[in-house]
């Protein structure tokens, strides 16, 4: 039998849903095993880091890397798999745009540690103990990876050939990507695969009539007409500013799109575009009235960048320089 293509999967800061999305190819998973020689898949297969290190450079044909870069170990693995892989794919929202873990960029290491190890009501930690990068127990030393101040996307750490969007990428699209790889017809490096070039609105079957709105509602405040565009009913939906291809599952159950497929082609900043669109259709010229309508948006940042804070133009919430240790700044500048 001919030499199989070598496949590796890895997750960094993510929930594992992307791995499950691959596992859930069901019958297809066996085809995958037919075509690929899985050299590294921690979730499902028994292989070891040292096996990966032992591989010659560029010997992995395809590496599906999911998860954002939250700590030093993930950054190390990103570099390692970059070296070893011919084609490195940012697989899923976290690797692509930062995903939900990317929301960590509203805070920093110190404020996160404070909350988790001091403030949480169930925590008992009178001595203010914090996890240490290197700590001596009676028997010897124990070490931990460094938790960074700032979450980055995979592409902000290493060069990436392709991006597969979605939280998680939908089954049909994962199949499509595997198919494309099997048939060897991948587009030009740098492109997004497993998604459409149009927006979620193109997938969404709801009736669209008149986009002008006079008030904004939160999903729990109203029972929307289940046939009409949610945005036209005042429920902020990121569909117009989000790459399609998912099939619009969220609007299909009366819930608005939250943008997990990331920006459409040609859109530089997904949240900025969503914000501009929403501000534009609020149908009043009276600033006071506009202010009242806009007040109904409880969390603009979260509304605009739920899945893409690290890949947004502003990247993270600004903090006083002091909160960024010099070394940390270096870590980040590496990504520049």
């Amino acid at each position: 039998m001919a030499q199989k293509a070598k496949l590796a999967l890895y997750w960094a800061a993510s929930c594992g849903g992307c791995e499950i999305a691959v596992v859930r190819l069901y019958a297809k998973i066996l085809d995958v095993a037919e075509f690929f020689d899985i050299v590294f898949w921690p979730c499902i297969m028994d292989f070891k880091y040292k096996d990966v290190e032992a591989l010659p450079d560029k010997s992995i044909d395809l590496c599906l890397f999911n998860g954002a870069i939250r700590n030093s170990e993930q950054e190390y693995m990103a570099h390692l798999l970059r070296e070893k892989s011919k084609v490195l794919v940012a697989f899923g929202a976290c690797a692509h745009t930062g995903g939900i873990p990317g929301l960590g960029n509203v805070a920093n290491r110190e404020t996160i540690f404070q909350r988790v190890y001091d403030e949480t009501p169930s925590t008992v930690n009178a001595d203010g103990v914090r996890p240490q990068l290197s700590y001596q127990v009676p028997e010897g030393w124990l070490t931990l990876p460094e938790f960074y101040d700032t979450v980055r996307t995979l592409a902000q750490v290493v060069p990436v050939e392709y991006f597969v969007p979605g939280c998680p990428p939908v089954k049909e699209q994962v199949e499509a990507v595997i198919q494309a790889v099997v048939e060897g017809n991948l587009p030009a490096p740098g492109s997004v695969v497993g998604a459409s070039d149009k927006t979620v609105c193109d997938d969404c079957t709801r009736i669209k009539e008149d986009k002008r709105i006079r008030s904004i509602y939160r999903p729990w405040e109203v029972i929307p007409d289940s046939t009409r565009c949610l945005l036209e009913q005042g429920i902020i939906c990121a569909g117009p500013a989000t790459r399609g291809g998912c099939g619009g599952p969220c609007p299909s159950v009366n819930m608005p799109c939250r943008g997990c497929y990331g920006p459409p082609p040609n859109v530089v900043d997904q949240g900025g575009k969503l914000l501009s669109a929403v501000a534009s259709i609020i149908d009043t010229q009276d600033p006071a009235e506009f202010g009242r309508v806009a007040d109904a948006i409880p969390d603009l940042l979260g509304t605009c960048y739920l899945f893409g804070l690290p890949s947004s133009l502003l990247f993270r919430v600004r903090q006083e320089r002091e909160a960024l240790p010099a070394k940390q700044a270096v870590e980040q500048s590496k990504a520049v």
């Binding site: 998973i29 873990p101 996160i112 988790v116 103990v129 996890p131 127990v137 010897g140 159950v253």
Partner: protein, 499 residues
């Protein structure tokens, strides 16, 4: 990697914090220290990652936590989604219509069937079905399919798919559903959906029976495995916690939290909203994951027994903490398990696999009950909240144990304080104990560590189906790990990794 370079790395760690060698070390890490006699002095189980949801949930629209928190874990997003929806009911002080609660539980039961099946066949299955000493290349789901035969293999995959169809039908997406919001669910189901779901539910019950037979044929029929299950190496006397209904039967969606002591006597029973009176978390400097313990007993360190606050959750714990199952088939299997394993409570960690199948059957039977409930297709699935947002605690039984969400919102409905204690975290202390005990039981006088030995150590915690995706974030599903064995001088004499 050679011993030499490794030990250098250990020393260099003392001086600088970032070192490629140390970064190399895996998602879960076991550090085993030997004494001069070559026996195990101590073993540490480290969880090296954190994401900080408790922090970045602050400032978000509180209803968005039903979208955000499921990203804690893509293996059991349904658990977080449902727990979050229940918490939001509390935050907005709103009572969803009956049909909404039933749809949530129906979605959740379908998820349970799929999740327990995944673990039994894909994650722990390999240990028993393929065998702990089989080669790594064989010891995976594909190996299982080959062993049990394509027919059953196909049935497994088919039911995973069918159950996820049910989740998608109600929740919109089969991974990270979105239907839950304060006051109910976003969409009712049609009679057409219901009929389809009922069919799937009935088929799931049959699948549960088949799985029990696999357990009989492959595991229970093999005395070696039974001994392994009951061996002291894999056993701990601890407290157990689980969610129970009004009749103290296991319930995944709602109820009271019940704690039993190592003798199986009720130690505490409380409304989930009072969790802070009963549960506290301890911080260690050598791991990112906190250790929950019973407040009444306090943190006594990593020891088991009646005086230690360490307790266990997840399938075996749920069965130990309850008086039975609420459905006939599951109840019968429940009784068979305890009579076979010598009565309640069962302390053998590996019995979790059996308990998991009991629950799989219960979930399937519950699916049928709900799918045939006349109210399930009611169009009334939303109650519009009117109260000023406040505080809420929501608890469900995730497959990996008690899952606690606790939100405080301001009057605008913006999340201000968020606390989360997830299934695997409750078990962290117990897992650490099991690992140390397994190491002590298996490494004597500097035994040469083999792949098989490594896997046996791994089996000790895989039985918990640990999901460190949930716990902080390492990864969901199977734990990768690194075992480093240090001699009395602290030099790494042996290092093995499973990633």
């Amino acid at each position: 990697m050679t011993t030499k370079s490794a030990s250098e790395s250990v020393r260099t760690e003392r001086r600088i914090t970032i070192d490629p060698i140390t970064r190399l070390e895996g998602h879960g890490r076991i550090e085993i220290f030997l004494n001069p006699e070559g026996d195990v002095a101590n073993a540490y189980f480290q969880v090296p990652e954190l994401r900080g949801f408790e922090k970045f949930c602050e400032g978000r629209a509180v209803e968005d936590l039903a979208i955000i928190t499921p990203r804690i874990c893509g293996v059991c997003p349904e658990a977080h989604h449902i727990a979050s929806a229940k918490t939001l009911d509390g935050v907005f002080n709103v009572d969803p219509p009956p049909a909404a609660k039933k749809l949530r539980e129906l979605l959740y039961s379908a998820f349970y069937v799929a999740d327990h099946a995944t673990h039994f066949y894909a994650l722990s299955g390999p240990d028993f079905v393929v065998g702990p000493d089989a080669s790594p290349a064989e010891r995976n789901i594909i190996g299982v399919v080959h062993k049990v035969g394509l027919e059953l293999g196909g049935a497994v995959l088919k039911h995973l798919e069918l159950c996820h169809d049910v989740v998608a039908m109600i929740g919109g997406k089969y991974i990270h559903p979105v239907c839950g919001l304060p006051g109910g669910v976003s969409k009712p189901i049609t009679e057409e959906d219901r009929v389809k779901i009922e069919g799937i539910a009935r088929s799931a019950v049959e699948f549960g029976k088949v799985s029990l037979k696999v357990l009989d044929d492959v595991v229970l029929a093999n005395q070696g495995y039974v001994d392994l299950i009951l061996s002291d190496t894999f056993s701990h006397k601890t407290y157990y916690m689980g969610l129970v209904d009004a009749n103290n039967k296991v319930n995944f969606y709602d109820g009271m939290l019940r704690v039993v002591d190592p003798e199986g006597k009720e130690f505490a029973k409380f409304d989930p909203s009072e969790y802070l009176d009963h549960i506290a978390e301890h911080v260690e400097p050598w791991t990112y994951l906190k250790f929950p313990y019973l407040k009444a007993l306090g943190w006594q360190g990593l020891i088991d027994g009646k005086d230690s606050g360490i307790y266990r959750v997840a399938p075996l714990a749920r069965l130990n903490a309850a008086d039975g199952m609420a459905t006939p088939l599951a109840q019968a299997e429940y009784e068979r398990m305890y009579s076979t394993l010598g009565g309640k409570p069962v302390h053998a960690t590996l019995a979790n696999h059996w308990a998991r199948l009991v629950e799989l059957v219960y979930a399937a039977e519950r699916m049928v009950e709900l799918a045939t409930d006349p109210e399930i297709t009611s169009p009334n699935v939303r109650t519009i909240p009117t109260a000023t947002p406040g505080e809420g605690v929501g608890v469900v039984e995730a497959p990996r144990g008690v899952l606690i969400h606790h939100y405080q919102a301001d009057e605008k409905g913006i999340a201000r304080k968020v606390n989360l204690i997830v299934g695997t975290a409750h078990n962290y202390g117990a897992i650490a104990l099991s690992v140390r005990k397994a190491a002590q039981g298996l490494i004597k006088k500097g035994t040469v560590v083999t792949e098989g030995l490594l896997n046996r150590i791994e089996m000790a915690f895989r039985a918990y189906d640990p999901c460190f995706g949930c716990a902080t974030h390492s990864l969901p599903g199977q734990m990768p790990l690194i075992v480093s064995i240090h001699d009395a001088q602290g030099r790494v004499v042996e290092q093995l990794r499973r990633d």
